[in-house]
Every structure is written in structure tokens, then in C-alpha cells.
């Protein structure tokens, strides 16, 4: 690990201001992703701003009947919250399908959203990787790509976003609330939050430099039946090959987001009206523009089967 200076901040405004004052700094939340990457010198901040003790660790009901989830709330506490378990089961299910008990105790809402890809070449500093070293090339495109993206990828990067929680947040139309060093608050719908790789795969979200996530806001409960099906190589403590988060409504419509297939949770609201036509029709439409590799083309069929299972359960 490269050496760094460290400070602890006590308010969100202080955190954003500290980041503006210290070029090359990073926010440290749980640290379960950042420290891992720093040990490998994939991330090399010169200064860490520890936001772990900010009072952004609560869940509040919003005036409109939704939930405001603090950026620093642990994944365990979010999944165990009674309102979440009753009204946003898709979110609790997605969280509980991720990582391990120990990691969920430490991982935070914002850190989970911003965790970086698990592309094996991103982790191997001997390999070219445009995400890690912009302009160096992409070892994955000609390498082992079984775990990587099938849609939304570019000639510069085919990595996926590894978060389970973000898939549920996408299906729920969550809104990300931030503050910048000038104290300006911004609301970013999750559909606009992640960027596809294009030519700049190292820029992963629309967050500005030094912008701090303060909370994630959920709209009022939409009702319906909630599902999160994660398909992986072992049945616990493993990242998804694919995952399907779905909320099915009585009228046959649904809110469906898919994980493990792209640089962001994949959702296309405009085709959700074809959900009643079945998993095959929906999956075909969702992946109409897919460009899988030979090794990962199976993921599309996996999504179809996972969705098929969900629709069956929904009907019974």
C-alpha cells in the first residue's frame, strides 16, 4: 500500500470541503473495497477522508411515504430494517445475497454503490486495463471473458458492475442525494447515475470530483411481489454471474433490473409492458443490442431462465 495521510471528518460539508482541499484524496466509508484495492496499488490516494463516523447512518421516512437511507448505514442494518423487510423486499433480498455477514456489517450504502468491477484483469496489475490505467488497452476483450459484460460494453472495456444492492435500487427507481464542497445538494436518479464505458471506462458515474453521497432515497412502496434471483458459481459468498431483481404487479406489469451483464444494473422501462408475454419475449427485447463474447453469451439464456422462474413463482 502507498502511504497516505488521514483525517476524520464529522459533517458531510466538512467531508466535501476536505476533498476539495486535498487533491488526490478519497473518502473512506467501510473500506472493504477501497482498502482491498489500495493493497494492490490499484487505488493510490495520497489522503484518506474517513467519513465512517458521520451521522449518515439512519433510515428515515420521507414526507411522501418513501425512505431516506443514510449513505453510511451498514448493509446489514439496511437489510434488517423492518420497513425494508416489509415494503422493499427486493432490496433486503439483494443485500443478503451479497458478500458475507462480516462484510455486510462493514459495507455501507454509498460504498456498495461505488464498489469497483471484479474484472480479473482490472485486479492484475501486470495486465493492460483501460479502467485502471486509461489508454493502456483491455486484456479482457481477447482474454477470459466468461464473467464480463454482454451489453452496453465498448471496445475499451467490457467490465460489469458487481453490486447486488444496486440492481434492487435500479428496479426501485432510487434517487441518490449528494453534496458538493460548495454545499450544493443534488438529486440523481439511479438510472442516470452510472456511465457506460465508451472511451472512458475509468469514469464510472456522473459524480463530480469531491461530491459526497449523503443518502439514497426510495419512492413510496410500490407494492407487488418482490424477487431477487442471483445465479453464481457457488451458492453463497460469491459475485453474481447474473442476477434478476423483479417487482411484479397484479396487472401483469413489472419493474425488472438485471445484474452481472453490464457496467451498470441493466433496465429498460420502455419494454416492461411486454413482461406478460413471458421471459423469452422480454429477454429478447432487453438484450436486442447485446454484443456478448463467445465465452459469456450463455448469460443471456441464464437471465431468461432466472426470469422464467420468477414469473412462474409470481403466477403461483
Amino acid at each position: 500500500m502507498k502511504s497516505f495521510t488521514y483525517e476524520r471528518v464529522h459533517t458531510p460539508a466538512e467531508a466535501a470541503a476536505a476533498a476539495a482541499r486535498m487533491p488526490g484524496s478519497k473518502f473512506l466509508a467501510g473500506g472493504t473495497n477501497l482498502l482491498d484495492l489500495m493493497k494492490l496499488q490499484i487505488e493510490t490516494p495520497v489522503h484518506l477522508i474517513d467519513i465512517g463516523k458521520l451521522e449518515l447512518n439512519k433510515i428515515e421516512h420521507t414526507l411522501t411515504g418513501g425512505l431516506r437511507i443514510g449513505a453510511l448505514l451498514s448493509n446489514t442494518d439496511l437489510a434488517a430494517d423492518l420497513s425494508v423487510r416489509r415494503d422493499y423486499q427486493i432490496l433486503a433480498r439483494a443485500l443478503l445475497a451479497g458478500a458475507s455477514g462480516q462484510l455486510r456489517n462493514k459495507a455501507t450504502t454509498a460504498g456498495n454503490l461505488l464498489q469497483r468491477t471484479r474484472c480479473p484483469y482490472f485486479y492484475d496489475t501486470n495486465q493492460p486495463c483501460n479502467k485502471r490505467v486509461p489508454g493502456s488497452g483491455c486484456a479482457a476483450i481477447t482474454g477470459f471473458s466468461r464473467q464480463l459484460a454482454v451489453i452496453g460494453s465498448s471496445n475499451a472495456c467490457i467490465a460489469t458492475h458487481p453490486s447486488d444492492m444496486a440492481v434492487a435500487m435500479m428496479a426501485l427507481d432510487a434517487v441518490i442525494e449528494t453534496i458538493n464542497p460548495k454545499g450544493k445538494v443534488r438529486l440523481i436518479p439511479i438510472a442516470d447515475f452510472y456511465r457506460l464505458p465508451g472511451k472512458t471506462p475509468h469514469i464510472e458515474t456522473v459524480l463530480e470530483k469531491n461530491e459526497l453521497i449523503t443518502s439514497v432515497v426510495l419512492p413510496p412502496p410500490s407494492g407487488g411481489m418482490h424477487f431477487y434471483h442471483k445465479v453464481r458459481d457457488r451458492s453463497s459468498y460469491a459475485f453474481a454471474l447474473v442476477s434478476v431483481g423483479a417487482i411484479l404487479h397484479k396487472d401483469g406489469s413489472g419493474q425488472i433490473a438485471v445484474g452481472g451483464v453490464a457496467a451498470k444494473p441493466w433496465r429498460n422501462k420502455s419494454i416492461e409492458k411486454v413482461v406478460p408475454l413471458g421471459a423469452k419475449a422480454f429477454t429478447e427485447k432487453l438484450f436486442a443490442k447485446a454484443r456478448p463474447t463467445q465465452e459469456n453469451a450463455f448469460k443471456i439464456q441464464l437471465v431468461e431462465r432466472a426470469l422464467e422462474g420468477i414469473l412462474k413463482e409470481g403466477r403461483s
Binding site: 500500500m1 502511504s3 497516505f4 495521510t5 488521514y6 483525517e7 476524520r8 476536505a18 482541499r21 486535498m22 487533491p23 488526490g24 473512506l28 467501510g30 473500506g31 472493504t32 482498502l35 482491498d36 493493497k39 495520497v46 489522503h47 484518506l48 474517513d50 465512517g52 463516523k53 446489514t76 437489510a79 434488517a80 423492518l82 423487510r85 416489509r86 423486499q89 433486503a92 433480498r93 443478503l96 445475497a97 458478500a99 458475507s100 455477514g101 462480516q102 462484510l103 456489517n105 462493514k106 453463497s236 459468498y237
Partner: protein, 215 residues
């Protein structure tokens, strides 16, 4: 090194910027060193003081900022019961309890634990007075080589508390109900602790025994 100048500048700013901050302690010696430094950024080793409580004892340590909680326990407090397996959050050998909750101490900086209460395997029980979970591991052969065992035991103790506290898991069927102890729950909840010797089924039996005494 073309960015050494920038680095020095930012470190100076840092020192100026935190002169009044109580949580960061950079000695005057470090400042001089920064100013006389010309090339090698590796020479600057920022350090800071941390106060926490380990196994009931208050501790104050001055540490290189990079020190993980795991290394602070093993290398600075000589509490070598907690093990380093992977150092990347993938095995659970480093599991300790922080304010009653289990975490991977390898993926946490010691500095993140100002004021925290930490319990390691040494704090759970002693050879003369074993914690019930330690006794049950011995009785049920919950280990072979023993390397993963301190992490397994800390995790196992926390799992029983998590079930009691109503925290659901991936295999809990109805999320709105209080979860109940079962073999499936144990297998899912203990998945963050890998055992190369494959003592899993015996660990589950040890946990079942301790659980039966609890309820």
C-alpha cells in the same frame, strides 16, 4: 519522479489544514522531513494515534496510517490468535468482534476504530475458562489444523447473536418473521469463513449445541 513535487505540496497543505484537527497527529519531525525531502516519496510515513479498547483493556497506539486493524492486533499488541489468511476479505480468518459485530479485520484500518470495543479470540475465553463456543468446538472436533478456527469461533458467536437480534439471511424464507436457528441458516451465515480442512459439518454441530443451551 515527476509528481513528487505535487505530493510534497499536498502533504504540506494537509499539515497546515489539520493543524487544529484533534484526530490527526503528525509530529514536527515529519514536517521537517517533508520540507527537506527531494525525491523519494516513500520516505514520508504519516502516522497517527489511535485509542481503542481491546479485550477489555484500553490501548493507545501510534501507527503508520496504513496499519490494518488485523496488523495492529497481531504486530503491535501481540494478539496473534487472530489470523491472516488472504488479507483481502475472502477467507474470514481475521474475523473479530467490533462493538459486538463481526468484521474482517484485514479490510479495516486501525484508525477507523477510534473509541471502539474490540474482542478477539483471546478475549472470548482463556485455556482455563473457555467460552462455551470454544468448548463446543473442542468437543465436536470443529477444526483440524486450527488456522481458520479463531475466525470461525468469533463468527459463530456473532451468528447466534445475529439470529437472536432478528437479522435475516439469504435463506430466511419469510423476511418479515424472526429468523430461527437451523443447519441451513448456519451454513449460509458462516459462508464468510472458509476452512481448508473442511471442518464445516462439525462447526455446525458445535454451534447447534451452544444454541440449544441458549434457548
Amino acid at each position: 519522479m515527476k509528481d513528487s513535487k505535487k505530493l510534497i505540496l499536498t502533504r504540506r497543505e494537509m499539515i497546515v489544514g489539520t493543524a487544529t484537527a484533534v484526530t490527526v497527529s503528525l509530529g514536527a519531525g515529519t514536517i521537517e522531513k517533508v520540507e527537506s525531502l527531494t525525491i523519494n516519496s516513500a520516505d514520508i510515513v504519516p502516522s497517527a494515534t489511535i485509542n481503542f479498547n481491546v479485550n477489555g483493556k484500553a490501548q493507545q497506539l501510534n501507527l503508520d496510517t496504513r496499519t490494518t486493524l488485523l496488523d495492529s492486533l497481531r504486530e503491535h499488541l501481540q494478539l496473534t490468535g487472530t489470523k491472516k489468511g488472504c488479507d483481502h476479505g475472502q477467507c474470514g480468518a481475521c474475523t473479530v468482534l467490533v462493538n459486538g459485530r463481526r468484521i474482517n479485520s484485514c479490510l479495516s484500518l486501525a484508525l477507523q476504530h477510534e473509541g471502539d470495543n474490540i474482542v478477539t479470540i483471546e478475549g472470548l475465553g482463556t485455556p482455563d475458562k473457555l467460552h462455551p463456543m470454544q468448548a463446543a468446538f473442542v468437543k465436536h472436533d470443529g477444526y483440524q489444523c486450527g488456522y481458520c478456527t479463531p475466525g470461525q469461533i468469533c463468527s459463530a458467536v456473532a451468528v447466534l447473536q445475529e439470529i437472536k437480534a432478528g437479522i435475516p439471511s439469504h435463506v430466511s424464507e419469510d423476511l418479515t418473521l424472526q429468523p430461527e436457528f437451523s443447519n441451513m441458516e448456519v451454513r449460509e451465515r458462516m459462508s464468510g469463513n472458509i476452512c481448508r480442512c473442511g471442518a464445516y459439518s462439525n462447526i455446525a454441530e458445535a454451534m447447534a449445541e451452544v444454541n440449544s443451551h441458549l434457548s
